[in-house]
Amino acid sequence: MSHLISIVTENLPMLQVVLPMLAAPLCVVVHHRRATWWVALVVTWASFANSVALARKVYLEGPLSYFVGGWEPPWGIELRIDELNAFVLCLVSAICAVVLIAAPRSFDQEVESDRHHLAYAAFLLCMTGLMGIASAGDAFNVFVFLEISSLSSYGLIALGPSRRALSSALRYLIVGTLGGTFILLGVGLLYMSTGTLNLVDLQQRIPASDGHRTIVVAMVCVVVGACIKLALVPLHGWLPDAYTFAPSVVTAFLAATATKVAFYVLARFLFSVFGVASSIDRFHVDWVLLPLALVAMVYGAAAAIFERDVKRMLAYSSLSQIGYMVVGLALVTKSGLTGGIVHLVNHGLMKCGLFLAIACVVLRFGSPHLGVQRLGSTHLDRLRGLGRSMPWTSAAFVLGGLSMIGVPATVGFVSKWYLVLGAFEAGKWWVAALILFSSALAIAYVWKVVEVLYFADPPRREDEVGEAPWWVLGPTWVLVGASLVFGVWTAPTVRMASAAAEVLLPALAGAGP
């Protein structure tokens, strides 16, 4: 037994990826609808426990390095876990674990039963990909796992009940492949000009070839590729449809994880691999990213205000929130980065909660493809008066929405607080003003839903529906609750985020709060 424990503790970074990676084929082998769910559930929770243990270890002992196959880098492949990826890993595995609880109910409704085992396998593969990216210490690994997560997410999105899910998936596939290809190009160019693929090694060898055009092209390729996966405006075209037409839980899962990991890739390459001296001081990538992020922030919120489909509205709100994260990154200050990184987790929690609340609604109204109603089940008009018939769902939505606005005592406030601080630190008060302006826009779109939920009369008596089952409502409230808890008890998230920011900006470690 102790032998087993020591194996586990020795291999924590590896198990993080291997667990879901092997569970996916296992799901295919098991084949039974519910049994596969159990496999997936056990594995994701184990993985969550694993990532928490890993994070703890990283905080106690410093960055961990794991040599796959026993070959030391740069010849072999390294998994490298520091405060930043430990944090991202925790988010991804936590979201997977929680979402999976809600998955069966939602899949039962939206996915044909003979495809469930494949859906769980794809879910686990997507998780594998995301965990693989987040734990990779090797540039080519980033690409390989990006492909795994992308391919599986295309499949998951295409599972959506509406026919348009397929075209959305196709669009995402093509655009996502473009993004992946750019990253591959960048990695290839980096390998060409440095001869290594290891991230730490790259970091050391790149300054030696500073100003090398190949490296500059590689930087542009990687940044553009990551921004596509991140859906930073104007490269966001795939996102609204993909989120709207995917099955409810898939949307919840992807919205909370996929773009976050892309953000991680962007931050990792810009700050660690290319280095602040090169990417920021020399080539001022922040000057390009900051305006885009600000546009994203305002554009996403403005579009969300006018959107009548709630799921799509949340998708646009995601664009806006992605803008916040990138703003934090582009400010290049300690507080700003802390804000961006903590928003990565905070937005993951609250957006996942919101999308799960939508999943509750879809469960009760039936998906547009199965029912006879002409309005989609997530259309605003379908939510009229739902505050009465589905009080818990509505309340969860409202709380998530408050967090989206950034009301104090919610996680949204914590993120925005640090972003605003970061803006002041960088001397860019107008950025702070825009952040507040965008929050004001968030009030408008959240309010729109609240109004419909609580102040509009239900359309017809026979449309009265009951509350969603606790299997879905529970995870929703876990996430909403987490977004409240971490809004008050900010120590864990903020401490981890600021440690992560220090990893990215070692030069500024002393500054800031």
């Binding site: 093509i174 542009v220 609204p240 006018f306 607080w417 507040l436």
Partner: protein, 583 residues
């Protein structure tokens, strides 16, 4: 356990428990409604008299709990008001309204005990967000006065202004923090506010919005008359008095508060004379009372500050009682328009009597609470040799009598009318019980002022019942009453008239939209010449934005793959060009 309870900020029991009310119905809801404020009050009383809890979050040193003498005045009366209002609202079966009301009361209490600005800000915004539901909620009893559309819009305006106050506060806090200042909430400025740092001015402005400073006041008269018949009782107690507390805590002795306060005592009087909606009259009178407190805080001497605190204490009770009685009228008759009322005392004698007690209190008749508290401010002004201020406050005292002391009871209960009220329903027992209790409290404070002063731990001796004071005040009030009678008899007193009275809200409800409209219309001419944007911009800016990002608009329609790919390509081109240019 003890420490855990001790570190729990007072009021949080209500603020959090209020949300739990959402899950209750029927008897349990009623039970929770009353028990929560009682438990919260018990919790407050169990805490030590001087008590501070510190906490560090996100690198900010916060003081979620700071109990001292000044805060305790508000702590007591807010709980009294919460309990009485809860009893008063017991008959209403509306979870949302109750939850909002209790959470609102709780966050107001918590704000009072906030020891730092961030905590204050949090509760500051919470009160805004929760209280708005008292304006939005349905109230079948008050249909005639509360057009849902009107209430919705008024609530929205209210919310915007309240949240704006919070945003200004936050801006002030951030500026102070950016300047390297601390977050402690204590003595932020004094003396000349115009030469204070910008952050202090912003915080002052934020407090001023909620304290309904002149030109910032209109949300009060706009929103309060549109609350539900029970909701307005809650509203009248907390928001503005919380702001008064904040001013007393942060800006005691700020000179500007004196002229501001005087202005606040004066201008509402004239509006109140001609206003038809009696609850709006009360809103104006509320504004006038806040003026007295502001003057007291502005004078800043110990006597003045305690006068302001005592006045706030008494004021919350008698103002609540006034709104309670008007709420009872609203419940029974369905309207509070003076033109529709009169002679109600026959049918609602208890309500009428309570209303008169409240009217006497607010007018500061001897043996009522107003008499023993308001005069402290006047004395402080006199001791500070502010003759003009003193005279104007005396003027305002007579004005208070006009609109709250006479107009309210007269037009609601006494004025001659041909209407037959025998068919209307009398208010339920809980409303009457709440009113009677509040009335007893008003009288009790008036009769035993020493008990109040000691209860509030006042540090100075003040004796309101001097022969001269009693006689002088009685002269003032009774001669004014005589003037009223005389004016009515000679027919000079203006008859009530259904009307909309323009106030400062005209600026943002009428002038600004019209101006905006004009600007946009003008500019559309420019755009016509300019090109394709013309048709977009004709109506207003919103439509223009909608044009771009609205449902299915140019920027939000589903992208073709070609479009996305082009964007990707463009991004690549821009990125490459950018780095090569810098290379």
């Amino acid at each position: 356990m003890t420490t855990w309870l001790q570190s729990l900020p007072p009021g949080v029991i209500m603020a959090v428990g209020g949300l739990l009310l959402l899950a209750l119905r029927g008897r349990a809801l009623q039970f929770g409604l009353v028990v929560l404020p009682v438990v919260s009050y018990g919790h407050l009383l169990a805490l030590p008299a001087e008590h501070v809890v510190q906490l560090t979050i996100m690198g900010l040193d916060l003081v979620p709990v700071r109990i001292d003498r000044l805060a305790m005045v508000w702590g007591h009366v807010f709980h009294w008001a919460a309990i009485l209002s809860a009893v008063y609202a017991l008959h209403v079966q509306d979870r949302v309204q109750h939850a909002a009301a209790i959470a609102y009361a709780g966050s107001a209490v918590a704000a009072v005990f906030a020891g730092d600005l961030v905590t204050l800000f949090v509760h500051w915004e919470l009160t805004a967000v929760t209280s708005v539901f008292l304006i939005w909620s349905r109230d079948d009893r008050a249909r005639k006065d509360r057009d849902p559309e009107e209430c919705y819009r008024a609530g929205l305006r209210y919310l915007i202004i309240q949240v704006a106050s919070g945003v200004v506060l936050l801006a002030g806090i951030c500026l102070r923090w950016a300047d390297g200042g601390g977050l402690e909430f204590e003595g932020l400025a004094t003396g000349d506010i115009t030469s204070a740092p910008l952050w202090a001015q912003l915080v002052f402005l934020a407090f001023g919005i909620k304290a309904a400073f002149p030109f910032l006041h209109n949300w009060l008269q706009d929103a309060y008359p549109r609350g539900t018949h029970t909701g307005t009782v809650f509203l009248s107690a907390f928001t503005t008095k919380m702001a008064i507390y904040a001013l007393a805590r942060g800006f005691a002795g700020t000179d500007l508060l004196v002229p501001l306060g005087v202005a606040m005592t004066l201008f509402p009087i004239f509006f109140a004379v001609i206003e038809n909606d009696l609850r709006k009259v009360l809103a104006y009178s509320l504004n006038n009372q806040l003026g007295f407190m502001c003057v007291g805080i502005g004078i800043g001497t110990e006597l003045a500050l305690q006068g302001a605190a005592g006045h706030a204490f008494a004021h919350i009770l008698y103002k609540a009682l006034l709104f309670q009685s008007m709420g009872a009228v609203l419940w029974s008759v369905g309207t509070c328009k003076a033109t529709e009322l009169g002679g109600l005392f026959k049918r609602l004698p208890v309500t009428a009597l309570c209303c008169m007690v409240a009217a006497a209190s607010i007018s500061a008749f001897p043996l009522t609470s107003g008499f023993v508290t308001k005069s402290m401010t006047l004395s402080a002004a006199a001791e500070g040799h502010m003759t003009l201020v003193w005279l104007l406050l005396l003027f305002a005292s007579a004005g208070v009598l006009e609109h709250s002391g006479i107009k309210i009871p007269y037009f609601a209960f006494l004025a001659p009318t041909k209407k037959d009220w025998s068919a209307i329903e009398r208010p339920p027992w809980n409303m009457r019980a709440a009113m009677v209790t509040t009335a007893v409290l008003c009288l009790g404070i008036g009769v035993f002022p020493g008990v109040l002063y000691r209860f509030l731990d006042f540090q100075i001796e003040y004796e309101p019942y001097t022969a001269l004071h009693v006689v002088g005040q009685l002269q003032l009030l009774l001669f004014a009453t005589a003037a009223f009678v005389w004016l009515v008899r000679i027919g000079a007193y203006p008859h009530e008239k259904r009307a909309t009275i323009l106030d400062f809200d005209w600026i943002y409800r009428r002038a600004l939209p019209a101006g905006w409209d004009r600007v946009v219309r003008r500019s559309s001419v420019f755009w016509t010449r300019g090109g394709r944007l013309a048709e977009n911009a004709r109506q207003d800016g919103l439509v223009w934005i909608q044009r771009w990002v609205g449902d299915g608009a140019a920027l939000t329609q589903t992208r073709t793959i070609r479009g996305i790919a082009l964007w990707v390509l463009a991004a690549l081109a821009v990125g490459l060009a950018w780095v090569f240019w810098l290379h």
